[in-house]
Structure formats: C-alpha cells, structure tokens
C-alpha cells in the first residue's frame, strides 16, 4: 500500500498545473468523471484533487475494505471453520464478549492501516509538492477508517451470526460494491439518486481532500457499524456452533 501511495504521488509533479492534463481529464466519459469526482469541483491538477481522484476515490477504500473484510471474516467464521472456536467457546467466556473482543482486534487493524496511509501521504506531501491541508488529510483518513470499520465489523458480525465464512466475505463485498456504484452513479441516473442515502461512501463524502468530509455522515456510518457489530454479538449466542 505504501508503495502504491508513493508511486501515485511520484507522478504528481508532472501533472501539477498542466492545462493539457486538465483538458484530458475533462474529456473523460461522464461515467468515469462521476466515479472519480472529476469535473464537479474536482481538479486533477491540484494536489488535493489529484490524490482524491487517484487514491481516495477507489484505491485506498478498496485496499482498506479488502483488508477489513478479510480480517473480520477470519476473526470468527474463519476460526470456526478451522475448528479453533470449539475450545475457546468451552471456556468461561460469553460468546458476545468474544465477538466484541474480535471487533476490537479488527478495529485495531483497520486503524493501523489507515494511519499508515495517512502517514505516507504526510511524508510524501512536501516531496511531491501536493500542498495538502493537514485537517483535510486527517478527515480523509478518518473517513477511510470509518468505512473500513463498517465493512470489517459487518464481515465479523455476519460470520458470527451465521457461521459461514463465504457469507461473511460475500455479503460485505456485495454491499460494498453496491454502495460504491450508487455513490459513483447517482448523479447520472435520477432514479438512483434517492439511494445515495444508503451508500456509506456517499455519507462520508467522496472528495475528502477537496470538499472535506461530512461529520454527521461519519458519525452515522460509525454508529451503523456499531449496531451491526452489536447485532452479530447477540445473534451468535442463539445458534449452534458448527463442527469443522
């Protein structure tokens, strides 16, 4: 991830302030522009716009979500599949507490990865002349982490509630892809527009470095993540543990 961030950042000086590149980006198909936030206030030739488009519009959320969902699915359903829960659940530990402890572990991983992305950008900023605003960068990293928490906890909760690792990966992946598509396309298709409210990507704000993040949206997404985690920790108490 650091490598990717460094690579993307290294290219920036050749794009910085180039009117040709701005022209090129604005001639992209509407769908692409909508996905990556080009046009509508987004300018690829500024540091903030460039990083928004190149990193925060797809690659960083994708990396963090893949990591978070993998970690969440592994934490309970994966352990159960491997037969390692059999022993621990026979210890004097409430299942819900076990799920919440795993939730904390997933959160620690998500926060660490997000922080690494933030630190990488912080270090590369002066080198590549991105000229990012520190507050905006912090907001962008927080929104990245909050998205990771939601999907990581969803994977954990689905795994805990249903004991299926496939479902624990599949459901968050499907919802993540759906939410991403809605956020990217709602401006182009009027019928999709109302559904933007259901997309966590839209809720946190999609051009965090240029337009800032939506504080209320962040809180809402984080709250949703906590509710999902709580539901998973209650549902796990009611079901049979699977035999490996």
């Amino acid at each position: 991830m650091i490598g990717y961030v460094a690579l993307v950042t290294a290219i920036f000086p050749s794009i910085h302030g180039s009117p040709e590149f701005k022209q090129l980006a604005e001639n992209y198909p509407e769908v692409l522009k909508s996905f990556f936030g080009i046009g509508a206030g987004g300018d690829i030739t500024t540091g903030a716009g460039y990083i928004d488009i190149e990193l925060f519009s797809l690659m960083l959320p994708l990396l963090v979500l893949v990591m978070a969902v993998g970690s969440g699915a592994r934490a309970f359903a994966g352990e159960e599949d491997a037969g390692r829960l059999e022993l621990v659940v026979a210890y004097p530990v409430r299942r819900r507490d076990a799920v919440l402890a795993k939730g904390a572990a997933v959160a620690a991983e998500v926060l660490a990865v997000s922080a690494v992305a933030g630190l990488a950008l912080l270090v590369l900023d002066p080198i590549a002349g991105l000229d990012l605003r520190a507050g905006r960068l912090l907001g962008a990293i927080v929104s990245l982490a909050v998205l990771g928490l939601l999907f990581g906890w969803l994977a954990l909760a689905v795994g805990a509630a249903f004991g299926s690792r496939a479902l624990a990966i599949g459901l968050p992946a499907a919802l993540g892809a759906g939410g991403y598509l809605v956020n990217g396309l709602h401006g182009l298709a009027a019928w999709l527009d109302p559904f933007r409210l259901l997309s966590p990507f839209w809720l946190v704000g999609s051009s965090p470095l240029q337009s800032g993040v939506d504080g209320l949206g962040l809180v809402a997404v984080l709250a949703l993540g906590l509710v999902v985690l709580g539901a998973g920790s209650l549902l796990v108490e009611r079901r049979d543990l699977e035999t490996p």
Binding site: L87, V89, A90, L241
Partner: protein, 303 residues
C-alpha cells in the same frame, strides 16, 4: 461439591433439520468422584452429546445440566468448573505451547502456575516451539494440560489418548484416576473399549444416537464376548466348547476353531482345549461390535 451432580441429562435430544436424529432421549447421570466412560462407534452421537453438555449446540429437546447449571443458558458459569479436551483439537498454530497455555489461562482469569508447570513436566510438553511444528501427540499433550490446569470439578475428554505413545497413555490414565480420587469427575468419550476399561468406573454405550446400556466396567467385560481362536494339531471338534456356558461357536475351519466367549468362560475353554494337542490359542480383547451384538441379543441385559 455443589448444587447438582456433575452431569445430569434428562431426555436430552438433538435433531438436525427434521430427519437427522443425532441424539435421542439421553438420560445420564455422572456422580462426583466418578470416571464415566462413554463408548460408541464413530458417528454414534458421542461428540453431539459432548457439544450439548458444553453448550456449543442447543438441545432440540430435554435438558443437560452440569452441577445444576443449565448447559445452554448458564454455559459460562458451568464452564468455570469444567475442563474440556475436544476430539479434534485445533490450537493457534503461530503461538508456542507456552503462549497458547498462557493465553488460555488468561481466559480463565488465571490458573495455578505450579499445577500447570507440574502437568507440563509430567507429560513432557514441548513449550518453546511454535505449535505448527509440533507432532499430533505433542499437540494433544497441550490439550490435556489445558483441560486439567485449573483443577476443574469435571473434566470432559474426547478421545484423550489418540496420538499418544503407550507410556503417555498410561500417564494420562493415572491423571484421570487421580482426578477421580480427588472427588472430581471425568467424562471420557472413546470408540475404543481399551482406552476406557482400565480407568472408568461405569461405561455408557451409545449407538445410533441412543444409549444402549450403562454398566460397570467389570460386568461389561464379563458379558462381552472376546474373539478366541484355537488351532489344534488335527481337525477341530466344536462340540465340547459349545457346551461351555456363554460361548458361541463362530466357525470351524479344519484345525482352526473360532469362538466368541465372555471372560468368565475362559478357564473352562482352556481346560476343554487342553484335552487335545493345541498349536495356538489366541484370545483378543472384546471389541465394541461384539458388545453391541451381545446387547442386542439380550435387550434387557443391562440395569
């Protein structure tokens, strides 16, 4: 030792879907200070019973209580007093033995360090290597230590000596006997009569999800038929052997005579054989299938 017996099940049942009856109406009671052997072929419902006792799965009918605590609804309270060795033990491959035991001890809120260390020494546990590098036997030893390390009032062991060499098997049996003489109880599940018969006070036999019989080990051994093969110098005559009480003639093949005989008939068998020239006399431990056949032959044989 508490409010109720270490194990009490009443009409305990588990059904998967609508048709798979993994366990049907199990009534079982294990007393303090008792080693209870739970015997049955693979797939008979042994693991289902254990998983119900430990609250890993929810009963479809009936109840299971440990020390009077409901094994599903009061699982956490019950687990404080229970040590468990799963039949298919899986540990955290990346941890060393020491780290694994330490992490499990923390889940119990700490255990007596000296007892844990003594158990490790006694079984020769490898503590400093990552678990993924350990043999099945060495992993099993870790499993046994964690089941006993908090001095539980009830130990539930699923095939505890699998993968252990004979010396360690007898060490584990000694451990089980000491636990019982301490007034604590052991529930010992196995598919092999051999693993159970030297340590258990009573044995329950399960087949196809229901309890076929509960009996003391002695009477089970007396009743169970051992395969006996006698080879004579010349053609075998089954007549004098068939007359011995409890003996069944399985087959005659030239000079070789095959019998199924209970332990109390052995003396009469040997004496009957001695009337002729004997080339070989083999008596094997009774196997479970023989015991089952015997149980079904006299369905009201148990108490």
């Amino acid at each position: 030792m508490g409010e109720g017996p270490p194990i009490l099940t009443v009409r305990l049942s588990k059904t998967y879907g609508k048709t798979v009856h993994a366990l049907v109406g199990l009534d079982l009671r294990v007393e303090p200070g008792e080693v209870f052997g739970y015997l049955g072929p693979n797939g008979a419902g042994k693991s289902t019973t254990i998983r119900l006792l430990l609250g890993l799965i929810r009963p479809s009918g009936g109840t299971a209580t440990l020390f009077g605590l409901d094994s599903w609804r009061q699982a956490v309270e019950a687990h404080r007093r229970v040590g468990y060795l799963p039949g298919d033990l899986r540990l955290s491959d990346r941890l060393t033995g020491e780290e694994q035991l330490e992490s499990l001890a923390r889940l119990r809120g700490g255990v007596d360090e000296r007892l844990r260390a003594a158990l490790c020494v006694r079984l020769g546990v490898v503590l400093d290597r990552p678990i993924r590098q350990l043999s099945k036997g060495n992993r099993q030893k870790l499993g046994i230590v964690q089941a006993f390390m908090h001095r539980p009032a009830l130990v539930v062991l699923d095939e505890p000596t699998s993968g252990l060499d004979p010396l360690l098997q007898s060490e584990v049996r000694a451990l089980i006997r000491e636990t019982a003489s301490d007034g604590r109880s052991v529930f010992l599940s196995s598919h092999s009569l051999d693993e159970v018969q030297h340590v258990a006070d009573r044995v329950g036999i399960i087949r196809s999800g229901s309890l076929a019989d509960v009996d003391s080990v002695e009477s089970l051994r007396e009743r169970s038929l051992r395969p006996v093969t006698i080879t004579f110098a010349d053609a075998a005559d089954p007549e004098p052997f068939a007359a011995v009480a409890g003996v069944r003639v399985v087959g005659v093949d030239g000079a070789i005579l095959r019998l199924a005989a209970p332990e109390p008939a052995m003396d009469a068998l040997v004496k009957a054989a001695a009337a002729r020239t004997v080339v070989d006399f083999v008596s094997q431990p009774a196997d479970l299938e023989e015991i089952f056949l015997e149980l079904y032959r006299e369905p009201d044989g148990g108490d």
